[in-house]
């Protein structure tokens, strides 16, 4: 649901400008996930379900620590687990996977439904199921495989970054539950500083000399950022894309190609009207003299 307490910056499928664009003094919010201190306890998963009122889902066993294969329409937050082995030994990589709240969201770009996806001035990207038409273009537009379709209601769901809590001045539910303190929430600016400090600490004091902060530029930066042991290989963390981008065809389609079509249709209608004014109807002489 759009949150009345938060200024809206962008609306999907919306004609004309948006009231809150570039006028808000809201802070950019950000969730920082330090994968190097995550123990994979899944408290954040439970907190997410508790706050949002969904039931725990059935788990599956695949010989690893992974509890289920993917996030779902009613399971927005999942620890991705990977046993990574290389010349340095075995590593248990755990990453809390949820919506990244991109500054340039592919879901919102692709969505044709007015008001089904909104981006608040504080950076949160939220789905409004009331306006969702179930076309699932958002799924296509998302480089992180986040939006999930509910086949019963024909609506798409995802992590809201607890927009309902943030709008009321609270932290997201997952942040509250983390026992190791690997989750942090604050302004984007502060979280970036904290993340860089932690990455620097890892590079200097541990064997993780490639530690770094994941805040990909391809989607304008994200409002969920990670500290990774090895920033050169984000794909090891359950398929985190190295250089996520909104698909180029979605971009082309939403801008130049659409306008070519719009102009074509306008010219088509104008053309026939002009023809009518210039040449008018074909008159059939009632006393057609041409011989059969």
């Amino acid at each position: 649901m759009p949150n009345e307490n938060m200024e809206i910056k962008a609306i999907s499928g919306h004609p004309g400008p948006v009231a809150g664009g570039n006028v808000s003094r809201d802070y950019d919010v950000c969730k920082l996930i330090d994968t190097t201190t995550c123990i994979g306890c899944k408290a954040c998963e439970v907190a997410c379900l508790e706050w949002n009122g969904y039931e725990f889902r059935e788990t599956t066993f695949d010989n690893t620590y992974q509890t289920m294969p993917d996030t779902e329409w009613n399971y927005w937050n999942l620890i991705r687990f990977n046993e990574h082995e290389d010349e340095n030994g075995l590593q248990f990589l755990m990453r809390k996977d949820q919506c990244m709240h991109c500054a340039d969201p592919g879901c919102l770009e692709a969505c044709p439904a007015d008001g089904a996806i909104v981006q608040y001035a504080n950076g949160i990207v939220d789905f409004n199921q009331e306006n969702c038409i179930g076309c699932q273009y958002c799924v296509t537009g998302c480089p992180f495989n986040i939006p999930k379709f509910n086949p019963t209601t024909k609506k798409v769901f995802k992590c809201t970054l607890c927009s309902d809590r943030v709008g009321a001045g609270l932290e997201p539910a997952c942040i509250k539950s983390c026992p190791t303190g690997c989750l942090h929430f604050g302004t984007k600016e502060d979280m970036k500083v904290l993340a860089e400090k932690r990455a620097d600490q890892l590079r200097k004091n541990t064997a993780h000399t490639h530690a770094g902060v994941y805040d990909p530029d391809g989607v304008g930066g994200t409002h969920v950022i990670y500290v990774l042991h090895d920033i050169d290989h984000p794909e090891r963390y359950g398929g985190l894309p190295k250089n996520p981008r909104v698909p180029i065809m979605v971009r082309l389609w939403k801008h130049p190609l659409k306008w070519i079509g719009n102009i074509g249709m306008i010219f088509g209608v104008a053309g026939v009207l002009l023809h009518y004014v210039r040449y008018g109807p074909k008159v059939v002489d009632k006393k057609e003299t041409r011989k059969p």
């Binding site: 044709p112 038409i133 179930g134 699932q136 698909p247 249709m265 026939v272 023809h275 040449y279 057609e288």
Partner: protein, 219 residues
Amino acid sequence: MSSPTVVREGTILPAGEIVRYTHKERVVHWVNGVTYLFCMLTGLAFYSPYLYWLSYVGGSPAAARTLHPWSGLFFFVAMIWMHSLWKLQMVATPEDKAWKDGIKNYIENRDDLVPAAGRFNAGQKLFYWAMYYSAIILLLTGVVMWFPELMPRGWHWVLTIVVPVHAAAALVTIGAFIIHVYMGVLMVPGGLKGILYGRVSEEWAAHHHKLWYNKMKKQ
């Protein structure tokens, strides 16, 4: 107006009229037309935020999304049925070449210089084939867009291609549709009557489709 009991194409009726379209042809035309119109309006709603209000012809935007593919499916079925009736008549004939060469005279209403046409002139045939092939593309791409949830996530990139192709084919039909409706309703008086009631005047037939008229006269 009472309907004639004789519905064979080309039957000469009293009062100087001739059967232009049979009952079956008119039904298939309008099933095709109505389902097309619904798809066009709801499709335009999904195409542009400025036309999103058109989705209310389906009841609500979400209902329009549900109904659009069904309407499209019926449109395609009607198209196939129409094809079974008209495919042979839509094949290009030698006189089409002359008609096409003189299209400027046709457009500028110098009809005395326009070569005689058969039951369908070259422009009508072009319209038919544009709709027919577009319908095939729209069906193939539309089925993919109907149930994206059945598509494995790794195949989702296909949608980024399929959606613009669907729209491109739809735009071809919209261009053709604009011209078709303009000609049927405004540019060629008598055309709309022909497809509604199946009858045109003999003068109309002789003026616009002389070769067809001559052939029907002889029978």
